[in-house]
Symmetry: C2
Subunit: 138 residues, 2 copies
DNA sequence: CACTTGACTTAGACATTGTCCATTGTAGGA
DNA sequence: TCCTACAATGGACAATGTCTAAGTCAAGTG
């Protein structure tokens, strides 16, 4: 177990069995799960956990900055527990596989003031698209 | 009217009243509409057009490369008629306003081979997030 | 340790967005 | 004009996410 639970407790998070389970699911597998996948794994550990609680908890973890929301495709949002190491994503256009990638350079610096329209720009999200080796072969 | 309809006809697109209306809606307003907003505007011009047809037509326009799908938020996909000038997006995290932006550099070149995992990378989508002037003031 | 309080959880109804299918209509060529 | 394949319709269905009212429980207090 990581220090995720410790950090949350330190922030005054009320610790419940449900929240612990959700945090454990995210912490245990470094893949990009949908909310429903998180729920399915949580149910395996705590059968009576409800969908609403999973959604609530995920939303809170996102607000706290412990987890990132990734919306690569039209379907469900995915949750990325790797929030403390900035990174971007590479998505297979056919099968939807997702890899974390670390491009060179800083895209934030590439947006000149003249293109900011007065916005306070705080974040960039880069999604590379292509075909994974398996789909390219097929 | 632009040459969008001409291009489509030239590609062997069967021209129907419904498709013309959808194309006109996208062509007329250079904003980023959701599928439902497109449908609403289409209904204003052709009351009996169905939702399924709008979805089908939008999907075809995307396949043809005449329109881009943008998924900036958790909600609906948006459709960007500005498919022929490559650009990226700047989104207000609070109100969802979207602007087209043209950053310097080429993010595709910033992804080293060692970070491509054998993928055939063909496209990049960059989404800047922040607060628009109105939301920053509030 | 028991009490108290307000935050947390639950179940399920509801909302939104998108897809599918069988039927009906029609564009465009012969 | 007539045919035929392609397109449109509308309504059911699916997937994802949100909300609410009522019950439950973590954690601080005495």
């Amino acid at each position: 177990m990581s220090d995720l639970l410790e950090r949350l407790r330190g922030r005054g998070w009320r610790m419940t069995a449900q929240r612990r389970v959700v945090a454990e699911v995210l912490d245990g597998e470094h893949v990009h799960l949908t909310a429903d996948e998180v729920h399915a794994r949580a149910v395996a550990k705590l059968p009576e956990i409800s969908r609403a609680t999973v959604y609530n908890t995920l939303g809170e973890l996102v607000s706290l900055g412990e987890v990132l929301e990734v919306t690569t495709d039209k379907r469900a949002k995915r949750y990325d527990p790797n929030a403390h190491r900035p990174h971007h994503h590479l998505v297979c256009a056919r099968c939807g596989a997702i890899r974390d990638v670390h491009p060179n350079g800083n895209p934030l610096a590439d947006l000149p003031d003249s293109e900011r329209f007065g916005f306070t720009v705080s974040d960039v999200e880069v999604t590379y698209r292509g075909l994974c080796p398996d789909c390219a072969a097929a």
